[in-house]
Subunit: 490 residues, 2 copies
Amino acid sequence: MLARFKPLIDHSEGQLFLSETFKIIVEEVLCKGTDVTQKVCDWKEPEELAWLLDLELRATGEPQHKLLERVKDVAKYSIKTSHPRFFNQLYGGVDYHSLAGRFLTEALNTNLFTYEVAPVFVLMENEVLRGLRQLVGWTEGDGIFCPGGSTSNMFAMNLARYQLFPEVKSRGLWGLPRLTVFTSSESHYSVKKGAAYLGIGTDNVIVVKVDDGGRMIPKDLDEKIMLAKSQGTVPFLVSCTAGTTVQGAFDPLDHIADVCEKHKLWMHVDAAWGGSVLFSKQHRHLMKGVDRANSVGWNPHKMLVAGLQCSALLLQDTTNLLRRCHSASASYLFQQDKFYDVNLDVGDKSVQCSRKVDCLKLWLMWKAVGSAGLEERVDKAFIHVRYLVEEMKKREGFQLLHEPEFVNVCFWFTPPSMRGNEKHADYQERLAKVAPVIKERMMKQGTMMVGYQPLGNKVNFFRVIAFSPLLSKKDMDFFLDEIERLGNDL
Amino acid sequence: MLARFKPLIDHSEGQLFLSETFKIIVEEVLCKGTDVTQKVCDWKEPEELAWLLDLELRATGEPQHKLLERVKDVAKYSIKTSHPRFFNQLYGGVDYHSLAGRFLTEALNTNLFTYEVAPVFVLMENEVLRGLRQLVGWTEGDGIFCPGGSTSNMFAMNLARYQLFPEVKSRGLWGLPRLTVFTSSESHYSVKKGAAYLGIGTDNVIVVKVDDGGRMIPKDLDEKIMLAKSQGTVPFLVSCTAGTTVQGAFDPLDHIADVCEKHKLWMHVDAAWGGSVLFSKQHRHLMKGVDRANSVGWNPHKMLVAGLQCSALLLQDTTNLLRRCHSASASYLFQQDKFYDVNLDVGDKSVQCSRKVDCLKLWLMWKAVGSAGLEERVDKAFIHVRYLVEEMKKREGFQLLHEPEFVNVCFWFTPPSMRGNEKHADYQERLAKVAPVIKERMMKQGTMMVGYQPLGNKVNFFRVIAFSPLLSKKDMDFFLDEIERLGNDL
Ligand SMILES: Cc1ncc(COP(=O)(O)O)c(C=O)c1O
Ligand SMILES: Cc1ncc(COP(=O)(O)O)c(C=O)c1O
């Protein structure tokens, strides 16, 4: 009888397992995983990997030593995104203070919805949002952490729509005129995903032209807005980008703000990637005009290395729009007869119910290095990129798409056999095949990782992202040598 | 010159900080935080807490010892959700294998969007989803982990809409007839939030009546669907609940499936809370008929103690509906000329871009205890609840709303001074004030946490959630004693 009421978890056994896992994490992920003499990835074909991992879930449990092997295997076969030679995505690197914050977040295991269950984090999120808003140039406002920049973009879309037509919340889009959104051809795909998800439809996302550097052209924006109006639709949102995903371009926010003002449109700045330049006195001019926006999305999990996920939506609004737009006022969670100020129950500002605590890791990192330390990281990334670009210019076969504005360096690599043949009819077709082959070779050898993609009429080119605080000059030299080594025989 | 290219992070210093944090986590969160002689919460007024935490973000960084104090403070003032006397939410407790998986996930810091950057997790998520689907009764199908059950419910809504009217993705809701959703009056508020967010509108969520136990009444559903049709709307989704948030009721899925079949509607089962009964041979009958659903949302972060966030949407569909509905086919991420099977790039199944890895913690826990171990946890929770209910019946002043179907026990506590006065005019009004006062006292003393809420015409009652694997008989006895101690003088 008593056994039925005994706790099912043995703390000392559990804590031992956790300690052993911690050791494996330090050794495999943090030491080996950031060691340039070790591989970035240990490529396996899916069938083989599935077999190695023995993924099947069974009726009976396994002994601790077996489970620790599994922990090791997961670490071994996972990509080392903290490795200095992981140039593949807009995230990477590691910051130990942030990581400590993340472990603590996981251990505390609470939800950011009420002050009751998250007193520390309600106040902390508020303070971190305030700090970010200050960098935007706002002394007041609102905001929330979202599960990713895509969600931030979608929240902005929902807010813009609600502000113009509050009845949409109860009645839906029926009865409203057709709404249109404006964004550049190089903006993040989440704008279109958002339009589809929110019932607006991708056809109602009007694509604005970009200049050679990938920046939205305000004149084209203005014309497209007027055209859309003349066709009977109601423009309600311009979603600009500060740091585009592929080219790292900054839309000219100040000019766009003029257009938005003229047409009275909500201006959203998707600064998921570029927002971090706001820490830098030297580079924040790239976002001049951002303080005129209605909302800004910013992902500290990218350039600031805060760790996935960390994405803030910042608002200039002081009218509680976020809560009015998203609230459902559930009486089981957001009781109004609580003994504390129920405005501290921030959960109803989101469309989520459970919401992960994403502020602690950023807060702890910020406390550790200060705004000045974060500024230094941003400035160094620009210095690294400058170095990389100058080195590329010294070497044959590296052709930049254009001078980078930010820390994305986009280039084609032309193998020796193709050099001088730029005018040949099949040159572009052959060039398009170079990057995928180099990528396959680098993945299979595991020496580094970098992404490639086509863009508009430009065939496959590499996009190298150089911002990790673990990066050194050697890694950039290695990068260039390695591209040559892998591609010279093509 | 060289300093400009030196890495900004010192690994040994960083790893030392991480180790020290790990020690604090074990001591403060896992040892003290689960020790019944320690407080569940250390209540502070917001102003005082803000002052204690010194939240402000400054220009300069702080020394390591100071930062470790901050780590300690965050732990100290946070709610101990793993504490056996945290009865406040549908999450709580701790599982060390899951926690180990969460630490590893954080350290590996990758995104679940391509096989390239998440080879282990693409395969693992697939296997975990397969395991969950098997419990639903499906040998085939699809699915995805979402940032919470609310998102799972919204995805289901978007899928149902897209299946009926695929053109909605490009054209939006304009041109479509008014769509209606059906859900019970006790379903989770995310159904309404979703309808607002997706442009459908909360007015188009038709609320179906529940019986005394809080279960949807299929006959009322059928009638409401016919009425909605007769009013010219197009019903497209029934969102039922398996384990309602407050009362823990299970909608009669089999009967609802008949109604859905008759009207050809998408049947979604929100089993965020109740889904875990599927592990139990003894209790899975509560969800009889679930295999007839089109989609099931299930949060292993609740009853299974997998840790926040862990929420799966499961689909019976085998036509790639999820990808067709949500994809944007971004060429920079989901290149089609990769050297491996691009179907492994699962990211386009989501409206998210970055997506946290939520499968590892569940996988590791499942491997550790097996399906049999998870079954045992579910069965024990029912045994605990049975004990609690029987003890309540033995004591004066505890009045159940009804016999619990699941592990939510809803009850009023009537202080001695009010007993026998049930017929008095102000009885309900006075009763409504009892729970908030007891709650305030318990928070300020920090001895335990339990939630209360009103529901329909029922005034404030307590909802105690008893499922944590750390729970013992003593904790339940304590719970009852403590309610009496805190409320007897009211
Ligand atoms: C410019 C831009 N906006 C938005 C996003 C989406 O952010 P998330 O991946 O956090 O959803 C990205 C992702 O790379 C991005 O580059
Ligand atoms: C029945 C039910 N559905 C959905 C949800 C929402 O899940 P989440 O909090 O993960 O968004 C909850 C949350 O408690 C719930 O109880």
